[in-house]
Each structure stands twice: as C-alpha cells, then as structure tokens.
Symmetry: C2
Subunit: 199 residues, 2 copies
C-alpha cells in the first residue's frame, strides 16, 4: 500500500483529531469506509463548511457562522444578565445544563501574562463597552476557579464596579481547579443555580 | 444556539465516528475550530473524496481508489505467496508489522451462516479462480482463531487441497479468540514469522 494511497491519506488526516494516534486513525478510517460511508460523507461536508464559515460572534465572541450568534440575535434573551465564560464550549454546556436565559461573553482564555494573554486578548475592552452601553444589571462569572481564573475574575469585577453592576459567580459543585467543560450537566446546573455575589 | 447552527451540525456529524458520544463530539468540534482549522479542512477534503472513491480491489478485495490496489499492481510482490485475511485493516497491519512480500486476499468476514455470510459473501469463488489460474505455491491463513474463523480456514484449506497448494497459518502469539487488528506489531510479526503447515 503506497504512502500516497487515498486510504493512507485518510488515515494520516484523521490524526488531526484530538487523542487519535496511528492505530485509532486506522480503526476510524476502516470503520467509516466499511460501515458508515454516508455518515463520513456528511461529516466531511459539514466539517469543510464549518472550518471556513465559523468565526467569532461580533458581540459575545462565541463561535458562529453569522455576524451575530443565535443567542445574541435572539430578542427573547434577558439583556440584563451577562454570563462570562472562558470558552465557547462552555456556552454550549451551560445552555444544555441550565435554564439561563440571559446573554454571554466569551473571554477565550484566562489572564496569563507570561503567555501573552492580557486584557486585550480576552476582549475586556469590548466587554467594558457592553458594560457601559447596555442595561446589564448582573454579571455572572462562570470562570474556572484556578489561580489565573481568579485573577481574571478579579479584573472583571473591578471593571464592573465602575458601572455599579452586581457581580456573582457560579459556586456550588465546581471542583477546585476543575475545568467547567468536563463537569457533568447536573453539577453544572447546581453550580449555576447556586451562584452568589462576589464580595 | 439554534439546533440548526453550523456548529451544532458539526457536533452532530462527528458522532458518526466510532466511540464518539455527545461530549466527545463537542470537544472535538471546539478543538478543531479553535486549534486546528487547517487539519480539519484537510481531513474534510480527504474524507469527502475517500468516501466516494475508495472501493474494493478487483483482485484481492482490499480497499483502494483504483481498480487494482497498490499491492496487486506491484510486479515486485511474490506471486507464489497468498496471504488470506478477514479485513482490509489487517492487510495494512501486516504490511506495517512484517516483511511479507507476497499477495493478499481479503475475505471481508468469517463464515457465519446465521448472519447470511457464506462462501459467496467471502469471495471464495474469486479466490478459487486465483488458486486455479495463478502460480500460487503457499496460502498463509491470517484468520482470527475463533470458531467461525476456524470454519473459514477449514473451507479454504479444502479448496486449496484441490490444487495441491500448501496451506500454512500464522501461529505464535495470536491470543485465543483474539482479533488480529488489535494486536501489537511485534506480536503480529512473530505470529507471521512463526506460521506453520495446516495438518
Ligand atoms: Zn453572540
Ligand atoms: Zn488488490
């Protein structure tokens, strides 16, 4: 089987998936070819489009193929509540786990000066514009309780204070140092419901 | 996030991959979108082509985008040796693990009358044509040592006997009831080198 065969190209290309080594890639390639070509073809179509068309929402910075994501474009969402998360995946997780009906803002990371991640990289100017111009009454911090996460939360709390906005953070059930993305839905829902004021 | 968003379509489509549930699909989608769009786009291109273009080799029944696979088309492969495997993935595994330089034949399964898998489904007529017409001196059975695999090997051994062809099977290191596909390379190489005549 020459190195350039389409099958080998497929096996190589599958290794871009997280956690997929040479053996898993081979197994996936044969599984699709022998048992689910329709699924593979559909995945290829959607993936090709997604890699090109999905960008950041111009308002909340989550991932979307539109200028405004479906949440920002939805007039039924409560404009007084703004939940701040680190990653777009956490927006999806919170939407699935909770009955929250407010808005979101996606930082895209945590403050980490040594890695070159400062307020600009996290969109804090964009956030402050929203705090100033919109009728936000509560900011809900859904940020991982790590050292960097706490520093990030602290900075946001200071900015919110300039506009007299209440700041809460999700609390109950988030394990110390835990990543929100890997929490089960039940724990995440509890944590969200149990949010409390930041002192 | 509406059910129809491109992001949700991508997450849904990723579930066609073996062993990928809703959480893994979400994780993979965000990984590709945030960290490896080039890899994702390349995978989409290759996968789209592979799902359409890859068919069975008309001679050995392995997967290939050509009429004849690279192995069948290679005049340097020893035409006197024919290794018989169950699945195309095992051709790849043997090529990587051993220095075998003969030909292959892919059954596509094991005899299983209750599942409607008989000699026709395994291409045994096609195999017998090769046994009759080609200068094959040894058949190497690389078939999983399960009950159905043994029945399959038995049937092939009977057919080979009609043409006076020696039949060996790979032996050392294949665990009882084990699937060849999941063997490590070293064990597979040992088993291949340690093949012996079928009584
Ligand atoms: Zn948005
Ligand atoms: Zn072939």
């Amino acid at each position: 089987m020459g190195e350039r065969s389409l099958l080998n190209q497929l096996i190589d290309a599958l290794r871009c998936l997280p956690g997929v080594g040479p053996k898993s890639a081979r197994r996936i390639a044969f599984y699709l070819l022998e048992r689910d070509r329709d699924g593979g073809a559909q995945l290829a179509r959607v993936m090709a489009e997604a890699m090109v068309a999905i960008r950041r929402c111009t308002r909340c910075r989550t991932l979307t193929e539109h200028d405004l994501c479906a949440l920002c474009a939805n007039p039924q969402r409560d404009a007084a509540l703004l939940c701040i998360v680190e990653q777009p995946s956490e927006v999806v997780a919170l939407e699935q786990a909770t009955d929250y009906r407010g808005q979101y803002f996606v930082l895209g990371g945590r403050l980490s000066p040594l890695d070159g991640i400062g307020p600009d990289e996290l969109g804090l100017n964009m956030l402050e514009t929203r705090l100033r111009d919109e009728a936000i009454t509560e900011i809900i911090l859904a940020i991982s309780p790590t050292v960097e996460g706490r520093a990030t939360a602290q900075l946001i709390t200071e900015r919110a204070a300039r506009y007299g906005i209440r700041v809460t953070r999700i609390a109950q059930g988030v394990p110390l140092g835990g990543e929100l993305e890997y929490l089960d839905s039940g724990t995440l829902a509890l944590a969200f419901a149990g949010r409390r004021d930041v002192v």
